[in-house]
């Protein structure tokens, strides 16, 4: 392994778990041996190319793994705070009973429950008005 490659590996081992943006000065100040700036910039350039780190601006970087974890956590929180709740409406019982009677008598229609029947009914009513709406496609 060449010296620059070894340096790159060592550098990545150090920055892998840094969860705050860092720059070359920070890396230099935490390095036991003195290396010129070009060693760091060159290694960082390659790590960025390998998609192991992300360049945030002209000077600062962040490990891709940290960014990915943050994105996943944010997405998880978003799902928790904004659950995809269906909308509820009130329908006459009599109508529901008629649907249930029909579904139990004619199983060949293939509706699993009254809600599925209702959704299909709405689709049929609205479809001619919005033929290109995506959710109306089977």
């Amino acid at each position: 392994m060449s010296a620059p490659e070894h340096f790159k590996d060592q550098l990545y081992e150090f920055i892998e778990n840094i969860d705050e943006p860092f720059d070359v000065d920070f890396l230099k100040s935490n390095c036991n041996i003195f290396y010129e700036d070009r060693w760091f910039t060159s290694a960082l350039y390659e790590l960025e190319d390998d998609e192991k780190i992300v360049k945030l601006n002209e000077y600062q970087y962040l490990p891709a793994r940290i960014l990915r974890n943050r994105w996943i956590n944010e997405a998880k929180n978003q799902v928790k705070t904004q659950p995809l709740e269906p909308s509820c409406i009130q329908l006459p019982f009599d109508l529901i009973r008629q649907i249930q009677d029909l579904l139990s008598e004619r199983k060949e229609l293939g509706f699993l429950n009254a809600e599925e029947f209702i959704r299909e009914a709405v689709r049929r009513l609205i479809q001619p008005k919005y033929p290109t709406t995506f959710w109306l496609k089977p």
Binding site: I89, Q90, L91, F93, I96, A121, V122
Partner: protein, 74 residues
């Protein structure tokens, strides 16, 4: 004084869940001239009409008066 409704009174309505997008599409439809002409004011009006249409298509739905007559006869 707050009005107290009898707790044992049977509800005449049932709650049905619709996908959010579907409800939004119905709300969009309610804004159209077609919906106004047909007298649909609420999401429930559209859903009820849609269900009646489909029940009618399968030969099930009968208007209330007709059903009451059948009940009296039986």
């Amino acid at each position: 004084m707050a009005k107290i409704y009898p707790s044992d009174k049977e509800s005449k309505h049932a709650t049905v869940r619709l996908p959010k997008e579907m409800k939004e599409a119905i709300e969009d439809y309610l804004k159209t001239e077609d919906a106004r002409r047909k007298g649909y004011l609420h999401v429930t009006d559209v859903v009820t009409a849609a269900v009646r249409d489909l029940l009618e298509e399968y030969g099930v739905y009968r208007p209330l008066e007709e059903r009451e007559e059948v009940a009296k006869d039986s």
